[in-house]
């Protein structure tokens, strides 16, 4: 255990702050107060994380931070741990939570909806933070369930039949996934007699029981991450939720289960993994890239386009496993492939959140989001279309953007290890992404037809308030700025990297 410094209290606070916000927003009885409290807590959380990271950089403290709750150490008590990977994800979560809280404060005007939205929203954030810093397999299960239940309820908040059906399917898939995960964890406990991830990592052997539990844990987490054959629930759920919820689901929630997959495959249960299984995950990822792009190109509704694009972008993350298998690196969770994928996660989170918010603004303005009826949108809603285009640049991976750097890092690892076919997948996916984003922009920039203004819809349609437009634009701008300063994210990860990341040096 690292000596307790004054900053060490940060880890329990990261779970405590959102939990407190959930309670405060439940107790308070006014829409303004609820929004005010939420934005305050979100700012506090971001400030805390930024100060903490800056302090760590200055003091040069150890890479992994461990907090022992109540002084009970690991076999019995609950520990919280943050390594470089978790720090990056905590930071991006705090940034997005602040922007999305501001957006939601303007988006939800109905007082009845805000009573339900804010507590659920903060429970979701609690679950996210707890999952990132959880140090034992069972606490991660609890965090996953918290995220799952809050996310389902948030999807259902839209109240339409489509949204409720999507939420119900999401709930069943979520329960199925977490039960598979729990059975895997039970088998691990049976074999090794501990739930602590660090202890498991030292004791794991390549026996059939461990392989079986890795298999169950992976199936559970893949269901929640929506990798290709298991992606069926994602597009309806992400497309029918309210705009800020869609943004959080696509940008953060699916990343949690991917982060845990990374943990279990590359860190905890590594002896039980095989090269064949890692390549299989990569092939499924490649399939997800192509199928997701094609489905996004053919989707009728704008939010479905964005949701299918998430399926495709999740595919890139799974290229991590074959790249790690090819590099034979001993510290694979801190290696070059992992750094590339973490960078990709951050770039995608910013771009996808911006895109969903822009789609939400467009839907609010038109009261529909049928892609073929969006002619002339570039003239009526220039800022929303600009946001969509900027986020699109990052998703395609054009320079200068976060998406470009992420893909560049992936290409570097693929070519550096002589597995050029994965480089073709990365490049091909970029071209396909350009196709579906180009289709939306083509319609938006074409001349309006006479009857675009639907008289039925005209009454319900309204201009999105300036704050909402600005939130979306700010996130899109961040996704571009990320490309100009690639160093600091890699530095955050660097804290736990012993050898310098090959390939990154040549780029800066």
């Amino acid at each position: 255990m690292i000596p307790l410094g004054s900053v060490n209290i940060v880890l329990p606070l990261l779970v405590g702050i959102p939990l407190l916000a959930a309670i405060a927003t439940t107790v308070v009885d006014s829409r303004r107060w609820r929004a005010g409290i939420s934005v305050t807590f979100a700012s506090l959380q971001l400030l805390l994380i930024v100060l903490w990271l800056v302090t760590l950089q200055h003091t040069g403290a150890d890479a992994a931070y461990r907090y022992v709750l109540g002084g009970w150490n690991s076999p019995l008590g609950i520990n919280l741990v943050a390594d470089g990977l978790a720090k990056v994800l905590l930071l991006i979560t705090a940034v997005l939570v602040l922007v999305l809280s501001i957006y939601s404060a303007i988006y939800f005007t109905d007082p009845a909806k805000t009573t339900r939205f804010w507590p659920l929203w903060w429970l979701l954030v609690t679950g996210l933070n707890a999952a990132f810093i959880g140090a034992d397999a069972f606490n991660i299960y609890v965090a996953l369930e918290m995220i799952g239940l809050a996310a389902v309820a948030l999807v259902g908040l839209a109240g339409t039949r489509t949204a409720l059906t999507a939420a119900l399917r999401y709930a069943l898939v979520g329960l199925l996934g977490s039960l598979c995960y729990l059975l895997g964890v039970s088998l691990l406990y049976r074999t090794y007699g501990t739930l602590d991830l660090a202890q498991l990592a030292t004791e794991t052997q390549a026996d059939p029981m461990t392989a079986a539990s890795l298999c169950l844990i992976s199936i559970g987490l893949l269901l929640k991450t929506a990798l290709l054959p298991l992606h069926f629930w994602l597009p309806p759920a992400h497309a029918s939720a309210p705009a800020p919820v869609s943004a959080a689901l696509s940008a953060l929630v699916v990343k949690v289960s991917f982060y845990l997959l990374m943990r279990f495959w590359l860190d905890v249960l590594t002896p039980a993994t095989t090269e064949l299984a890692m390549n299989l995950l990569g092939i499924l990822g490649a399939g997800a890239i192509f199928w997701g792009c094609i489905a996004a190109f053919r989707a009728q509704r704008l939010k479905l386009v964005v949701a299918y694009s998430t399926v495709a972008q999740l595919g890139y993350m799974f290229l991590l496993f074959p790249l790690v298998a090819a590099s034979h690196s001993p510290s694979s969770i801190t290696g070059a492939a992992a750094a590339a994928v973490v960078y990709f996660i951050v770039a995608h989170a910013l771009a996808k959140a911006a895109m969903f918010l822009a789609a939400g603004n467009i839907q609010m303005f038109n009261n529909h989001d049928t892609v073929d009826k969006l002619q002339g949108l570039a003239r009526t809603q220039p800022l929303a279309v600009l946001t969509f285009a900027i986020a699109g640049v990052s998703l395609i991976g054009l320079p200068p953007s976060g998406g470009f750097i992420a893909k560049w890092l992936l290409l570097n690892v693929a070519i550096g290890n002589g597995v050029w076919w994965w480089a073709i997948v990365v490049l091909g996916g970029g071209l396909l992404a350009a196709a579906y984003i180009g289709r939306v922009l083509h319609v938006a920039f074409s001349h309006p037809v006479a009857q675009t203004i639907d008289t039925d819809n005209a009454n319900a349609a309204r201009h999105p308030p300036g704050g909402m437009v600005l939130c979306a634009l700010a996130l899109a701008a961040c996704s571009i700025l990320l490309g100009f300063n690639a160093e600091w994210i890699l530095n955050l990860l660097d804290a736990s990297v012993e050898p310098p990341i090959p390939g990154v040096g040549g780029m800066q």
Binding site: L76, G156, G174, L176, S178, L179
Partner: protein
């Protein structure tokens, strides 16, 4: 020892039956019951794990208790959603609720 193994094997078999039910069943109530069977199967494995000869390990018991709370919350949420879909479906001529 063999009794404990028997419980564990039965739990895993039950998990398989539950998973089959979730995938095959079409009615939402059947699906939910199947999910609950899966949950009980995991609890059985955990309880079988808790027994080490004469002493009993409390950690799996704590896990089962937490698991039960989660299962109740999840089931309640699913039932509420199913009920809302049913109520919404009554007004329109939509397809029968699943």
């Amino acid at each position: 020892m063999s009794q404990e193994m028997l419980y564990c094997a039965a739990g895993i078999a039950l998990f398989g039956i539950g998973m089959f039910g979730v995938i095959v069943a079409t009615h939402i109530i059947r699906k939910l019951i199947a999910v609950n069977i899966m949950g009980i199967a995991v609890f059985m494995v955990l309880l079988a794990t808790a027994r080490h000869g004469a002493v009993t390990d409390p950690i799996p018991h704590a896990m089962v208790l937490t698991g039960i709370v989660v299962a109740v919350a999840g089931t309640a949420l699913c039932l509420w959603l199913a009920l809302q879909i049913r109520l919404l479906g009554r007004g329109t001529k939509g397809e029968p609720p699943r």
